[in-house]
Every structure is written in structure tokens, then in C-alpha cells.
Symmetry: C2
Subunit: 323 residues, 2 copies
């Protein structure tokens, strides 16, 4: 009686559906109980050969699919409530599904974001994993992208450009200084580290926030445009990992590549000067590295990135676009 | 400055994002305000060449992508609140996107289900459209699949098997009696008619409900199994359209094909006998055809389908499975 599809869901995904709203995945829908919170919704899909490489480990693919969405929730100041998973597969391959589901389950527990439901379909083409993540904020408290104000400090988490370099390494376009550096950068490409630990600080102290997924320079330009402001950035202040610095050195064209490379999944926040100390202290308590890289200003020109000499660094490409 | 992707979103999808929670599609996330309602979540994806044919009209593909999800909301007794759209495209083709977005916008208005957000990605493979739809019910009132009780009338909306015959016609596996019949059945395959008008009646009077998407026989078997009951059905009572009857005649093997064919997107409800008159009256007021086709019974055997002679009709296949 159970079809292959039902069997696959029962074996691999029912164990992840621990929230009562998931109804054990036997229903057509999940339910999130009313709690008086606003619900924050975000959806991001990853496609084999586009967002990840066909030979990336299944566990890494699972983590990336969920984490790119968790990164969006953190940027909005929202606590995870659960996620829906849509899997388009060429075949039901146990060698893929077992480690995929195990890693997804680990992340669901680690980030307190249970599987609520989903859909599993067959495709003759590349695998695609689409996740819709749901979060909660107190009423009216979602942190917006378009609320950057002149004078706000522009703050970024973690280090920038690692993932773009990791992809370059995997595709033979760059060479790492050390084996450990290579492994670090590739891991940064494959497994994003959503800054969920900073969620509460973002909600309490950031006026504007978004996650950096398509490239820091382009994403900042989007935040400025949406907010009707501009910004001046100190490119030399942009936090780089040791492994990235070993490749980029002090070459401004290589630095430009890091500023426009995608897949960082760090947070970009605008913080009023009056709240900056509180934000920095909260980040320190959360063990999330944050760095002030510039300031928002009145005006509508493109944000300026200044190099070591104080002159503007020209950026050819600001970010990744699918089309 | 705007990338091709941003431009595509601004041109085609921003006009559909009329709900304040969509934030004009400029943010990374949408927000649904707390209203004291439970939130019902469902997600269904359609893949080119699997759920629709590559030469189906773009408008029909758009309507199908949204409506298969609206059908799930209606089955749960949930009023639509909005949807998220994930589009995986080989290229940004205006000849496809313009009619696709126009039809999607029409349906969003007609079904009061605005676009809240989404993701647009490139794929080297078949197009895929994944929709997550959100609905609201009063707290604790989502209608479950697993609550069919012995004695409940089993009721189905509309007519069954049309879409499976429509696909057979498109793929040359069947011949229609008339040109009008052919057009009707193909339209039933391409453009589901979610029974949203019955949402309130389902919530008020049905004890259990689900939508029929993989085949009536298989979906009923799933409802029975989830509820721990069985059922006896009168196969001759199953509502057929004139066009379907003209093809199936009284041939029980052809009838069996209709009972197990997918893509009906009708509602299957279990209604306590004490509420049946109210349910039928509400359906009549909503202009939705409903038909009692059997009764739920104690036991765990597979549901029995009885033919004109009173003997059981053997069903080889109960429903569609992707794997």
C-alpha cells in the first residue's frame, strides 16, 4: 500500500517532524498555533550545479539548504518556528537521502527549527531543494532592509569573501596558501554559518538588517537604495579570514572580488550610533564577531568603498545575479 | 545597478505583491501580522514534464502552481492569507513570464491570496515552480486528514477522473467522443478548480478532509489508514462528467482508471451523519457539486469499491507515486 514516495517520507523525514504542528507529516498541511507573534516568512532554493556542486557531500547540501534560510530569519530578528522542505529528486537514492536527512535533522535540532511539512517530487533534471522557513517576532518587530538611516554605523558579522574563494578553489580558479586554509575556505562555501546567535541583538539594536548572500557590495547597495541613503565604507576594515588574506594579500583587485563574491551568509546591519555600544556588547556575549565597516550618509549615489590610500576602489561587479 | 533578477521581480511580480506583509518584495522576508488565527501551511511544487507538459500555456501553468496549493487550504478549512513563489527558470523569457505573471495575478485576486515573497533562481534543467501557501483558521480548527470516523458519510466534490483523461488525450492514449469533450477534459488537466467556495462548510461540518491529488482510490486509502478505519464505496455513485462518461461508458476497468488517476484537485470529506444535511445545504449555497459515495466503517482492511453488480471492483493501481 505505501508508495515509494510515502515510504521515503516515513523513513527519512518523519523523524525530523517533531513539532506538533507537523502532525507527523500525515496531513496535507502543517499548522502553526496562534501565539500573538508576527510570523516571518522566507524562502530560498538551491539548485545542483548552480548553488552547490554535484559532488558536494549530501550532508553539506542539506545544511546549506536550511541554513541559507536561517540566515534570513536571523537578519530579520526572528526566532525560528519551523520549515517546509520541497525536494525535487531524479531518484530516491538511499546513499544520498540517508546522510542528507541525518544532517538536516541535526541542524533542525541545533537551530530549534523543526521540519513542519513539504513536498517530494521527481524531476528528470538537476536536483533542487527549496526551503520555506518560518520565524516569529513580537508584533511589528521584524527588522527591515529599507530602514538604514544617515549616520547609522554599518556593521557586518564574521568574515567576508571566504565562500567565493572556496568556490574558486573547488573550480581551480585560485590556489590556497596552505592545505588548512583550502579546507577552511571550501567549508565556508559548502556550509554557511547563520548568525542565529545574534538574532535578539539584531532585533533589539539594529535599525536595518539583511543577510549577505549575493555579495557584500551589491547587497549593501540594495540596502542603501531601498532606504534612500548612501554610505562610505572603509574597504580595509572589511573583516577577512587569515586564509582569505593569504590569497588576497593587499591587492585591491583581489579585495574587490571578495567584496562582490556571493554565499557569505553573514549579516549586514545598520545600527544607530546611540545603540552601537549595546549592539557590540551583545555580539560579544553571543560570541559572534562583528565589525564596523562604514557609515550611512544622506544621498542617492552608489556607496563608495575606500582603499588604503583613501581613494575609491572601482568595483566592476557588485554581486551575483541569476539572469 | 538593478540585476536581471531584480528587474524581473520588479516587472512581473511586484505588481502582485499587494499585501502590506509582502513589503513590496524589497525585503528578504515577508511578515504575516498576528491575528489570533492559527496559520495553516502547505507546499506543492510542479515540474515541467512531470506535473505539466512543456507546451502547456504559461497562464495555465501559473494557475496550476497556485491552485494545487489553494486546493490544500480549502481541504483544511483555511482561508488564504498569501503565498510564496519559488521559480527555477532556464532563462528569463518575457514570452513566458508576461502571461505567467498576469494569470498568477488574476488568480491571486480571485482567490484573495496575494503574493508575499519568493525566490527566483536559474536552472540548467526543467522549469520548476514551488509554491508555499498560507491560510488562517480559528485556533484549533484546522480540519485533519486523520479524523475519519466509522459511520461518517464519504463525500467528494465536483467530478472525478477528468484530469487523468485530459492527460491521456494530450498524450494520445485516449480518444474523446466530441471536440468539446476533449477541450473540457484537457482544461480539467491543465487548470484545477480548487473548491475554495466550500472552505467554510468544510471547516464547520466536515470531521476529516483532504484534497484528491494523486487519485481518489489512493487518497481515500490514505485517509482511512491515517484514521484507523476502512470504508465501503459505491463506485457507480462516483460523480463523472459527461465527457468522462462518454469515454468510460460502463466499462469497470475504465472506471478503475478514473478512480486511480491523479490531478483531480477535488475535496474528499468525511461528514458525520448528524451534520450531513447542513454540509449538503452549505455546498448547494456555494454552488459546489458534492456527492456522497460511501461510508466509513470500523476495520483496517483496504477500502472496498463496489460496482453495478454489487461485486468488488479490483483496483490494480490506487494512485500516482513519484518513486
Amino acid at each position: 500500500m505505501p508508495s515509494g514516495e510515502d515510504d521515503l517520507i516515513a523513513r527519512y523525514f518523519k523523524p525530523l517532524a517533531t513539532d506538533p504542528g507537523a502532525r507527523g507529516l500525515v496531513d496535507d498541511a502543517a499548522v502553526l498555533a496562534a501565539t500573538g507573534s508576527d510570523l516571518v516568512l522566507t524562502t530560498d532554493a538551491i539548485v545542483e550545479g548552480v548553488h552547490y556542486l554535484p559532488d558536494d557531500p549530501p550532508a553539506a547540501i542539506a545544511r546549506k539548504a536550511l541554513r541559507v534560510n536561517l540566515s534570513d530569519l536571523a537578519a530579520k530578528g526572528a526566532e525560528p518556528a519551523g520549515f517546509l522542505l520541497t525536494l525535487a529528486l531524479r531518484q530516491a537514492d538511499e546513499g544520498f537521502l540517508a546522510p542528507f536527512a541525518a544532517a538536516l535533522g541535526e541542524d533542525a535540532v541545533a537551530f530549534r527549527c523543526p521540519l513542519l511539512g513539504g513536498d517530494t517530487v521527481s524531476t528528470p533534471g538537476p536536483m533542487m531543494i527549496s526551503v520555506t522557513a518560518l520565524g516569529r517576532v513580537p508584533p511589528g518587530r521584524m527588522v527591515a532592509r529599507d530602514a538604514l538611516r544617515p549616520g547609522d554605523a554599518i556593521v557586518v558579522t564574521g568574515t567576508i569573501g571566504d565562500a567565493a574563494l572556496g568556490l574558486d578553489l573547488l573550480q581551480g580558479r585560485a590556489t590556497a596558501a596552505t592545505e588548512a586554509g583550502r579546507a577552511f575556505l571550501i567549508d565556508r562555501y559548502r556550509v554557511p554559518q547563520p548568525r542565529s546567535a545574534l538574532t535578539r541583538a539584531v532585533r533589539d539594536f539594529a535599525g536595518a538588517a539583511m543577510d549577505v548572500s549575493d555579495g557584500l557590495a551589491g547587497d549593501l547597495a540594495k540596502m542603501c537604495a531601498a532606504s534612500g541613503v548612501t554610505a562610505t565604507l572603509d574597504a580595509t576594515a572589511v573583516p577577512l579570514s587569515d586564509a582569505a588574506r593569504a590569497i588576497a594579500g593587499t591587492d585591491e583587485s583581489k579585495l574587490a572580488r571578495l567584496l562582490s563574491g556571493g554565499d557569505d551568509y553573514e549579516l549586514l546591519c545598520g545600527v544607530a550610533q546611540s545603540k552601537l555600544d549595546q549592539f557590540l556588547a551583545a555580539a560579544q556575549r553571543s560570541h559572534v564577531q562583528v565589525t564596523v565597516i562604514g557609515v550611512a550618509e544622506e544621498g542617492t549615489r552608489s556607496p563608495r568603498w575606500l582603499g588604503a590610500s583613501g581613494a575609491e576602489i572601482p568595483l566592476q561587479t557588485l554581486s551575483f545575479s541569476h539572469f
